[in-house]
Every structure is written in C-alpha cells, then in structure tokens.
C-alpha cells in the first residue's frame, strides 16, 4: 500500500513518454502500448492496494503515504495565531479514494483500449498526442483522488481542467472544438476561483490543509444550524468549485459543448471521472458540510434543479452525444442531491454506478458515430439494431440501467438517493422522481431513434440493402461502406462495461431488498471525522414496506417514461412531431436550452467586454500619458548632452587623431617596405658603434 | 629548369598542376599507348588516352580481302592471343553461312582457345608484376608461356600468328601425341600457378599495391562497357562462354570467378583462377575428344549469303565481337567491324586512374590487360 503514489505516477510516465518522445518517434502501436500498458499497470496496483485495504478492519481503513516534501514549512497568519503552512506530496488511501481509483483506473483502461481503435483514423503524431493527453488526464485525476491535502487535490483539479481543455480542443483545427475547449476552461475557472478561496479560508481557519486533520478539527466545532458561520462560508466556496467542475447550475453550460471532443474523451472525462470530481470533493469534506446544514440545503436544491432542468433539455435534443451530456448533467444533479440530503454514501454509490453505465452509453454512442461515419444526429440514424448488434445490446443495458429498471445497477443507486431524499423532504422526492421518469424517457427515445425505426441515414457505397459484413476498417480512403459493427477493440470494452453496469449495483443492495447495503458501510468511515463514530444515528427510517413502496413508484415512473418513448418513437413515430407542434413554446425553449447560453453571452461576456473597453481607455489616456511625459523629458535632456558630446568630447578625440595622421605623413616616408633598407639602418648603427669603439680606444 | 605550370589565379597555397606524358615510348604502357596525365603533385587529376600509334586499318583491309585471307589479318590484332581472334572470326562467318562444324573440330578449337588464354594470361601476369616491380614473375610466366607456344608450334607451325583455323573447321588434325603433351602441360602448369601465388598473392607489398586500387562498381563497369576480367572483377557475372556458348563450351564444366571489391587485386585473383578453369576445360576436352573429321562441308569458293551478323566470343581480354555484313555477291565482306575488348576496357582507364598516384597508373594499365594491336587495329 505504500506504493500507491505509483498509481498516479505510472500514467504520468506514460504521458511523458508519449508526449516527449512518442509524438515524434513512436508509431501508433507503440504509443497505444505505452498508454494502455501504464494504465493497466496502474489498475493492477490499484487492485492490489484495494485488496490490501479490504484486508484491514473497518476502523483502520485509512492509509497515508508521504512521498516528498513540496512546500517547506512557512509561517503564516491564521485565525488561531501563526500557523505553519506546509504541504507534502502526500497520498491517502481510504474507502472513498479506494473506490475512486478503481473507477478511474478501471474505466480509464477500458477507454484507453477503446480509443486504440476509435482514434485509429488519426495521423500518427496526433495519435500519440491523444494518448499523451489521456494518460496525463489519468495522472491528474488520480492525483486529485489520492491527494491527502487540499493543495495536492487542487493540483489534480487544475490538471484535469487543463487536460479537459486539451482533449475537448483535440481537433483544434475545428473552430467549434477549440471554442468549446476555451469555454470549458473559462467556466471552470469561475468554479476554481471559489475553490481556491475556500482553500485559503480552510487554512486560515484550521491552520492545515490536510483533509483528515481538517475533518478532525471541524468535528470539534459546533454545527452551524442557523445562519452563516465560517464553516458555511468554506463549504459554500468549496461548493462553488464543485459546481464548476461538476457542471451544475449555473455553470453547467460548458459540458454539452464539451461534446466536441472525441467520444472516448467525453466518456472518460465528461461522464465517468472528471465531472464527478465535484461530488468527490464534497464527499471528501463530508464532515465540513455536515456542520453547515444550510449549505447542504443549497447543495440539494441546486442538485435537484440541475437534475430537472438538464432532464427537460435532454428530452428534445437530437444530437446523440448532447442527449447523453444533458443526461450526465442531470445525473450529477442527482449525486449532489444525495450529498445535499446527507446521503454521501448514496451519492458516491451513484457516482460509481453512473460511471459504469454512462461510460458505456458514451462509448456505445461513439461506436454508433463511428459506424455512421461521424454522423451524430439521431434523426439521421435509425434501424441500426441489425447492423451493430453488440453495440445495440450493450447500449440497451446501459439505458435500462440509467432508467432505473430493477435489478440493474442504476436502480439500486438511484433508489437509494430517492429513498434518502424522501426521508429528507417529500417535495424534493417528487421532483426527483419526475426527473427520473424523464431520464427513462429520453434514454429510450435515444435508443429507439437510433436502433429502431427505419434507417434514415445517408446511402452508402455497395447498396442500401446490403447489410453485409463491413467489419474491416477501411484504411485511409474513408470509403464508407455503410453502418457496421465496430472492431473488437471497441466492442470488448463495451461488453465489459455492460457487465459492470449490470453488476455494479449489487454492492449496495438495500436492506429492504434483503441486501446489506455493503457499499454504504464500506464508505461510511470516509465521511466522519473519527472512525467508528455513529454519524447518522439521527436519520429517520421508514419501514421496509414503505421503502419497497417508494421503489415501486420510481419503477413505475421509469416504466411510464419508457412506455411514452415506445409509443412516441416506435408505435406512432409521428407523435413526437405532433407534440412538438402542440407545445411549440416550451419545445422551443427546451430546444434552445432555456436560452442560458444567450443570457450568459448578453450579461457576462458583454459586460466583461464593456468593462475591458473602459479600462483600455483609461490605460490609453492616463497611464500612457504619464509614460510619454517621462519619455519626452528624457529626449530633451539627451539633446543637450548630445551637443556637449559632439563639440567638446569628440573635438578632443579628433584632435588626437588629427595629430597622429598629420605626423604619420612624415614618418611613413621612412618605412619603405624594403627589408634591405632596414638592414642598412642597422648597419649604420653598427658602423657608428664600431667607429666609436675604435676612436674611443 | 621549368615545369609548365597552368596556374589557377587567386587560389592561395595551391600547388601547380603538372601535365605528364606517359608514352608512347614508355616501358609500361604495353606498346604504344600514350596517356596524358594531369597531376596534382603525384595525384592524377585526369588522364587522356591517346591511341592510334599502330593503326593499320585492319578492318578496312579485311573488306578488301577474301574470306579466307581475313583469318591471317585477325592474327595481327590481338597478337598475343591470335587463336581466339581466329576463333571469333571463323565462327562469325560460319554463323553467317550456317555451316555445321564437326564436333572434333569444335573440341580442338576449345583446347586451342583455352591454351591461348593461358598464354595470354601468362603474358599479362608477367608484365603486370613487372610493372609493379616484381621482375621474377615475368620470367617465370614467360617460361610457362614458352611451353604453350611450343604446343602451338607443333600444331600449326607458328609461335605467334597462328592462322590456325578455317571457316568450317580446322586446317589440320592434331599431330599424334599432341594431346598427351597438352595433358602433360596441364599437369606442369598447376604447380607453377602455386609458385606465382607464392610470390604475389600474400605478399604485403603486392597486396598494398593492388588492393583498393582502381575500384569500380559493377554498375559503373557495365556503364563504361568494360568486359572480361575487369567486369567480372566488379562482381558482374558476364562471360560469353557461359552466356552464349560457342565452340564446345556448353559441354564442359567450369566456373566463372567473380570479384567482390572490383579492385586490381580482385582482377588479379580472377585471372589466376581463370588459369585453373582453363586447365579444367582443357582436361575435359582432352578426355572427351570425339573422333571424326575436322573440316565441315564448305564450298570451295566461300561466298556467304547476303546478310549481316554479330558474333562474340570470350577472348582472354574480354568480349571479342565481330560484326560482318556480306552482300552475297563478292568474295569479300561488305562491312567488317570488330568490337575489341582491349579498346573497350581502355575506356575504363580514365575513370580508374582518377585520384590515384602516378605509380598506380602503371598498375592500372596492367590490370585492364590491353594489347595496343587490338586497340588500334
């Protein structure tokens, strides 16, 4: 377990290899091997670490490793006097991070493998670059997850933001992709602003940044039941960060645009891992949050609002990936709802199951897009069931799971959330159920529009009816031979994920269904300050029967959603358009995503630009004026200096030169260049000397 | 004391180029070749071969002699290998007339040609070694050449210009016991070859003088039109005896030695190996010598049908080809043209000597094995 620091470092090495060497020298296979190999090694390490963690007794499942010193101790002022600001490179393995590293490395590896085939059309350097980014992302994500202080987590946090930007804008030659990348980055900055302020405040309040220490200190403080105390402020600021990263209202706008990136990226970053970082962060600080009930309420409300809003938008989207994107936003809302109502474990549970089925759905959609030759509009698909049975089957499982059909993973986690919500607030529960129904509807709308009905896509070479075996990848000429099943490298991850989507829920079968809700007990230690503390003793309980009743309701609602989708898109496909006409107003609003983007554009973007213009004017008028005045003064003084220099100093120098020149006119007559004349001069000297000697005797 | 010095103006610290005439009266230009060398110090910058000092107009003469008389003139081209010159000519005319040559005649011709190859190579080896300063080898090689000349004398009465073949066969059958003597000569020759090798092959000075001197690649050699040992020395497997068998060569086993580096030493080794191969061919021919006439059915007045033909044989120097046009009416050829191997190989000299020292020029003239009688004709 002391080697957990290797878990993030391995993908980091892969990224360095691919990025520094691979882009120039590796062929595609090597790049893929390097990336997948490091990920696989990382997964292996994670499994070993996790197994060791399980081997410990429940109370002691906490392991911290300090690898190196990062920021040496600096004395800084805090609320409690002068504190020592010290940040080591420390990693923590506890049940929550243990689960997260499994999710990140496991799904990460599957997506790596998937990408090997999916990105095969890319030219060689871009291929290595892609894997470099992907590995880099995993490195930062694991850093985020394993970091045992706020600052290490923040490094990972910013790192995944960077990778997100790089990967969304991977096809940077496409204007929309690079715009989406920038948008994601900038919107995230708003959240990060809140996060880092929160970190400042945490240090100021507690004098340390270590999660564990903070939790222990916070547990000592009174619960701020009414009004906003310092804890509430911290939580609110941290939550702002979570909003940005996890795409909640009002900062969710970047996520749907992020679908411009390659599909594996969408699956990995924007469904399974990065966007859940907010949820994870809130869960990591569960103790803090549970001391600020008012903020909890805000969290729950924002989560719920996001869930519903995103679900409604999802109802009318036609881009397959955007549907999934809004679905993601909606599900993230669920998770926040769960944390908001105090069910941290349920939120984390849903996080895990969601990672499986949403990754599955994204990869499935990627497979579909691949098959349809980069076509993303569902209206131009249809009837793909016969062409790509594996994709169909796996995506179907994913849809069932997300819709909350019993015995699949989504059912368990979602019902846990709904159950806890019900305990907390009935109104929230009702809205959540409605959102669940909508989830079921739009998911099956997606399935039906994609895989059933008539084929509506473009014709292909070799005839329409020829639904033959077009499995082989058709090289560079991109002659499209119609929709076809994806290569094995892509379908195998799909199948694995489908199995996961089915089974992942069984770690948290609720007591009402005869389970033991193992995951909740497993995760519990992570959400309390001291192991063994009965944190949720006060929570009300319903009878098993009532719980079953709630389940039945949610199942019914889901069934209704599925049925509506069936009726609208299979039985009577025209109904969809009829409804759209009948409710033209709401439909338009939904299609335009509540005009949120336009609103932001009008307020924030314009506002910023107007402000910037004002500052520009100030800069030009006042600041530059001062600078120019100084310059003018300098020029004037140098003119005076110039006159002095030219006539006084140069005059002296020239005088010396003139004297030398005039003198040399005379002397150079002597230098004839004839060696013998010089010898003659010597001889004259000798003659004089000898004569003097002779006479002198 | 002046050395005419074409001076390149403006080039500082430059030694002058020197123009040196080698030949036509020079001991190692193998006759009357004149090589005009441009030297930078002792290094050859460029060389021009001036030929024609013994041009006798052999080709023109041939067009004015009747077909049989021409054999005599072919003797005077490559005068150290007259028998192969004869062979090439008579086979060309036979090809033109489509005359069947008796098998025995073809066997004897092969023996004569190979004996001739041994004699010619002996001369080459002696002079080549002499040029490089090993004078004993010359006398040894001439000692063996003398034996070959004795054999020729016994066969046709001449020692240098044999006139030893006729169109359609041979003028004479071999004398009684001649084949025994040839066989004895083969037995004698083999140990002598070892003697030459002992003096030269592993001699450091010899290797130093020939290794990596005049290196020419196979492509370049082909492009220059080199033939015979100079071409094979560069690793190009081209031997008319194998590629387009004439006389009785297709009936014998022999190897074509090939060089690897294409330098003078390789060419030396190849010729030494050719000695052995020639002995091998002669032995096979003696063993399988068929009985029968030595002259085919040829009309008394030779008058080939109108037409033209080209026929090449492998002379000791390389590919010796004859191009003959007959108008079908007169008793002399309408056009007579020789592709002499010496002439073609001489083209390579300029390329070979460039960049080498003056002393190497001598070695390189030796290695291409030219006979000026054949070059100038």
């Amino acid at each position: 377990m002391d080697l957990i620091w290797l878990i993030p470092v391995l993908p980091g090495i892969g990224a360095a290899l691919n990025g520094l060497v691979g882009v120039r020298y590796f062929d595609k296979r090597t790049a893929a091997y390097v990336a997948c190999g490091t990920m696989a090694a990382s997964l292996l390490l994670s499994l070993v670490a996790f197994a060791q963690l399980l081997g410990l007794p429940g109370d002691e499942r906490f392991h911290q490793v300090t690898v190196a010193e990062w920021i040496p101790p600096i004395p800084l002022e805090t609320a409690g006097g002068i504190g020592s600001f010290e940040v080591p490179w420390a990693f923590t393995l506890d049940p929550l991070s243990g689960m997260m590293i499994l999710v990140v490395t496991g799904i990460g590896l599957l997506i790596h493998v998937y990408s090997v085939a999916y990105m095969d059309h890319e030219p060689r350097p871009a291929y290595a670059r892609f894997f470099c980014y992907l590995n880099l992302f995993c490195f930062f994500m694991l850093l985020l997850v394993l970091g045992s202080t706020f600052l290490v987590m923040f490094v990972g946090w910013e790192g995944v933001g960077l990778c997100s930007y790089l990967l969304i804008g991977f096809w940077y030659h496409k204007q929309s992709a690079s715009d989406a990348g920038k948008k994601a980055f900038i919107v995230n900055r708003i959240g990060d602003w809140g996060f880092i302020l929160g970190i400042f405040l945490v240090f100021f309040t507690f004098g340390t940044l270590d999660f564990h220490a903070v939790a222990e200190l916070a547990a000592e403080m009174p619960v701020e039941a009414a009004g906003m105390g310092v804890l509430s402020l911290i939580c609110l600021l941290l939550f702002v960060g979570a909003i940005g990263k996890s795409a909640q209202i009002p900062l969710y706008v970047w996520l749907p645009d992020a679908m411009e990136g390659p599909t594996p990226v969408s699956a990995l970053i924007h469904a399974a891992t990065m966007v859940t970082a907010g949820v994870y962060m809130v869960g990591r600080n569960a103790v803090l949050f549970s001391h600020a009930p008012m903020v909890m309420e805000i969290v729950a409300i924002i989560g719920l609002a996001t869930a519903i809003m995103a679900a409604t938008i999802g109802l009318v989207q036609t881009d397959i990936k955007r549907v999934l994107a809004y679905s993601t936003v909606s599900q993230l809302g669920y998770m926040f709802l769960a944390t908001g109502v105090g069910a941290f474990a349920a939120g984390a549970f849903h996080l895990m199951t969601h990672a499986f089925f949403k990754a599955l759905l994204f990869l499935g959609s990627g497979s579909v897009i691949h098959a349809m030759n980069e076509e993303q509009d569902m209206r131009r698909m249809g009837g793909l069931k016969q062409y790509m049975p594996v994709t169909y089957a796996t995506m179907g499982i994913g849809a069932l799971a997300i819709a909350g059909v019993p015995l699949l993973s989504g059912f368990f986690s979602k019902d846990e959330i709904l159950y806890r919500t019900f305990l907390h607030n009935r109104l929230f529960w009702m809205l959540a159920v409605v959102a669940a129904g909508m989830t079921a509807f739009y998911m099956f709308r997606l399935i039906f529009m994609t895989f059933y009905q008539e084929y509506r896509g473009p014709a292909w070479e070799g005839g329409h009816g020829d639904h033959g075996e077009h499995h082989e990848d058709d090289g560079g000429d991109h002659a499209w031979h119609g929709p076809h099943e994806s290569p094995r490298l892509m379908t195998v991850p799909l199948i694995v994920l489908a199995v996961g989507a089915v089974l992942a829920g069984y770690v948290g079968v609720p007591a009402a269904l005869g389970g033991s809700n193992a995951i909740e007990h497993f995760l519990e230690p992570s959400f309390v300050a001291h192991a063994g503390e009965g944190a949720h003793g006060e929570a009300a309980h319903l009878s098993h029967l009532a719980e079953l009743g709630l389940m039945a309701i949610s199942v019914l609602i889901a069934g209704l959603g599925i049925f509506l989708a069936y009726r609208n898109y299979i039985q009577r496909p025209e109904t969809a358009d009829e409804w759209a006409e009948r409710y033209a107003g709401p439909h338009r609003v939904l299609t335009n995503k509540y005009y949120v983007d336009e609103l932001y554009d009008a307020t924030f973007v314009r506002g910023t630009m107007v402000g910037a213009r004002g500052l520009w004017g100030f800069d030009g008028g006042v600041v530059d004026g001062a600078v120019n005045g100084t310059g003018w003064t300098t020029v004037a003084s140098s003119r005076i200096s110039h006159v002095l220099d030219k006539h006084v100093v140069d005059g002296l120098v020239n005088l010396v030169g003139w004297v030398c020149q005039e003198g040399s006119y005379g002397f150079r007559r002597v230098q004839t260049g004839l060696i013998q004349n010089y010898a003659f001069a010597t001889l004259v000297g000798v003659f004089a000397f000898v004569t003097w000697f002779l006479v002198g005797r | 004391m002046t050395i005419e010095a074409p001076r390149r103006v403006g080039q500082a610290f430059d030694t002058d180029e020197l123009v040196l005439n080698m030949g036509p009266q020079h001991p190692s230009t193998h006759g009357v070749l004149r090589v005009v060398l441009r030297l930078d110090g002792e290094r050859v910058v460029d060389a021009d071969c001036v030929i024609g000092y013994i041009h006798r107009g052999v080709e023109k003469l041939c067009e004015n002699r009747d077909w049989t008389q021409i054999i005599l003139l072919t003797d005077r081209m490559d005068y150290v290998a007259a028998a192969t010159s004869n062979l090439g000519y008579v086979e060309t005319v036979e090809k033109l007339m489509q005359v069947e040559v008796p098998r025995r005649a073809r066997y004897i011709r092969t023996i004569l040609a190979e004996l001739q190859r041994i004699a010619s190579h002996c001369l080459w080896l002696g002079t080549h070694a002499m040029d490089i300063g090993a004078m004993t080898v010359l006398l040894y090689a001439f000692r063996e050449r003398e034996h070959v000349l004795d054999l020729f004398e016994e066969y046709c009465g001449a020692r240098l210009t044999y006139n030893s073949m006729r169109i359609g066969g041979l003028p004479l059958d071999i004398p009684t016991g001649w084949d025994k003597k040839v066989s004895a000569f083969c037995d004698l020759m083999e140990p002598k070859l070892d003697e030459y090798e002992e003096l030269l092959t592993n001699n450091r000075i010899w290797v130093g003088r020939t290794r990596d001197i005049g290196v020419i690649s196979g492509e370049e050699a082909t492009a220059l039109g080199l033939c015979g040992p100079p071409l094979r020395g560069s690793g190009v497997s081209r031997d008319v005896r194998k590629d387009e068998p004439n006389a009785a060569y297709e009936e014998f086993d022999f190897d074509i030695p090939l060089g690897t580096r294409g330098d003078t030493y390789d060419r030396y080794l190849i010729r030494l190996e050719e000695f052995k191969q020639s002995i091998r061919i002669i032995r096979q021919a003696l063993e399988g010598m068929p009985e029968g006439p030595v002259m085919g059915k040829v009309p008394r007045l030779i008058k080939p049908p109108a037409g033209e033909t080209y026929h090449a044989i492998e002379s000791p120097k390389g590919e010796l080809g004859y191009f003959i046009v007959s108008d079908g009416r007169s008793t002399n050829p309408y056009r007579f043209r020789v592709r002499p191997p010496s002439f073609c190989n001489l083209q390579g000299l300029r390329r070979l000597v460039r960049g080498h020292l003056v002393a190497d020029v001598v070695a390189l003239i030796g290695t291409i094995d030219i006979v000026l009688g054949e070059v100038d004709r």
Partner: protein
Amino acid sequence: MLETFIIPLLQIAVLLNAVLVAVTFMVLMERKVMAWAQARLGPMRVGPHGILQAIVDPIKLILKEDITPVAADKWVFTVAPIMSLVPALVVFSVVPFGPDPLYYVADINVGLLFIVAVTSIGVYGIILGGWSSNSKYPLLASLRASAQLISYEIAVTMTLVSVILTSGTLSLVGIVEAQREAGVWFGFIQPVAFVLVFIGGLAETNRVPFDLPEAETELTGGFHTEYSGMRFALFFLAEYANIIVISAIVAIMFLGGWMRPFPNVEALAFLDLIPPWIWLIGKIFLFLYVFIWIRATLPRYRYDQLMRLGWKVLIPIAIGNLVITGIVKVLV
C-alpha cells in the same frame, strides 16, 4: 713522413681500387644471382660463365659517347656524378678491415657520425643530377630519391644511436671491440636495430622494394635518365659503392666486423687462421647477396606507401628501440 703520408696514401690507393673492383664484380654477381633466381643463365659470353663481364662493362661505359643535353646546366651536370661518388668513397676511410691500424685509413672518435654525415652529402649528386638534366622524369625522380634518402636517414641514424648507446663509442673500431668485450654480436643484442638498419639501408641505396627513383616502369630510369657513358658510370659506381658501405656498416655494427663467429669461444680459435679482412668481406658479400635476393623476390612499393613505412613505422620503432635501449642501459 712514412707514417703520415706514405702509408695512408698506399692504404687509400688499395682501398679505392678494391672498392671499384668490388663494384664491378658486384654488378656481375647481381646479374648472375638474379639469373639463377629467375631460371635463366645470365651473362655467359665473356670468359668462363661470364666472369670477365665485370671487366668488359666498365670498358664499354668508358668508351661510350658522353652526351650532355643542350638544355642542361653543363657545369652542374658534370659536377653532379662526382658529388655523388666522392662521399660514397670517402666513407671507406673509416671502415676498419681489421684490428690494427694497417687495416684502416683512420679511426676517428666520431666515426659513425662521420659516416652518416658524409653519406648525407651524397644526396646532392642525386638532386643536382636530376635538376641539371632539365627534364621532367629525372627531376621527379631526383626529388623522390632525395626525399626518400632523407626520410630513411632519420630512421637509420636514430637506430644507430641505440647501437652507440650499447657500445658506448662512436668509433667503428671501438664498436667492434665492444662486441668482443660483450662476447656477442650486437645483432643479437639489438635485433630490432639490425633489421631496421638493413631495411633503411635498402631504402637509402634505392634498392628493391624501395627502388622508386629508378623505377623503369614508372619513371623510365630515374634521375640519371639523361646521363650516359662515364658520367652514368660514376652514378652507377656511387650507387653500388653505397650498397657496399651499407653492407659494411651493418656487418661491422651487428655482425662483429672482422671478428670470427663466437670470438670468445676458444674452441673455435682455428677460425682465426682466416685473416680478419676476409671475414669482413665475407660478411659484406653475404649482405650483398641478400640485397640481390630481395631484388629478385619483391615487388616495388608505391611512393606514398614507402613514405608511410618510413615515417609511420620505422621511425616510431627506431624511437621506441632507442628508448628501451636507454632504459636498459640505465637499469643494467
């Protein structure tokens, strides 16, 4: 008067005649030995087995017309062969043919240096002969010859120094006596020097395999191409006299000079019945034979190879030999 003039003059007269006769017979010997090596007979016509050829050749050369090219520098053209021959003969004045003063003209304390110095004068004959002919081939050959001579002189002189170190004297008589005292010929103490001096001697006398300046096949005869008659004969004499000088030096320095083999083994005392000068001449002829033998066997070096051998092989070996000799001398 007798000791200062008469005896030395007589000695000089005998020596000069002996050397000149030896040269003529060496030419005959060369022709015969070469012939035997090359499976032929050599001169057979004059006298039994051509022995009198040695007398006929000089007569022929003297009687031949002596041509001076028009463009030649006549004065230098005449002086050059003399400048070539005189040093070669002068050297013999310090060659001791026996232990007592009767056998040598002079025994000077710088004997070996004297030999080296005087032979180095011989190069003038070659250079001036080539230059004064006013012809390209002789000029090239003379430049080559002098460059070769000077190059190899360095190696030979350096090697001789190591012998001087061993003997402790420059006097040739002293060197022979030193070998008697050492009880062994220096050829066994200094085998490397022995071989080196012999090879250097081959090169200095322009013999095969270093006979580039006279390479007929390359330079059509060398620096004396334009010479004929007696002037040519003088060059010829000088060359062969030089060969004899080198042989004599090698014999004296490495093979014990006039001494019999194993000079300190009493059992072989009967060998002393043979006079010492015969021993030396015998050894000289042994080397002459080897010179001829090599000529019959080896090809010729190329000019650059020859220079490389001289500068990059012989001189380093000579220096190494000198250093090792010095070290041994200090240690022993």
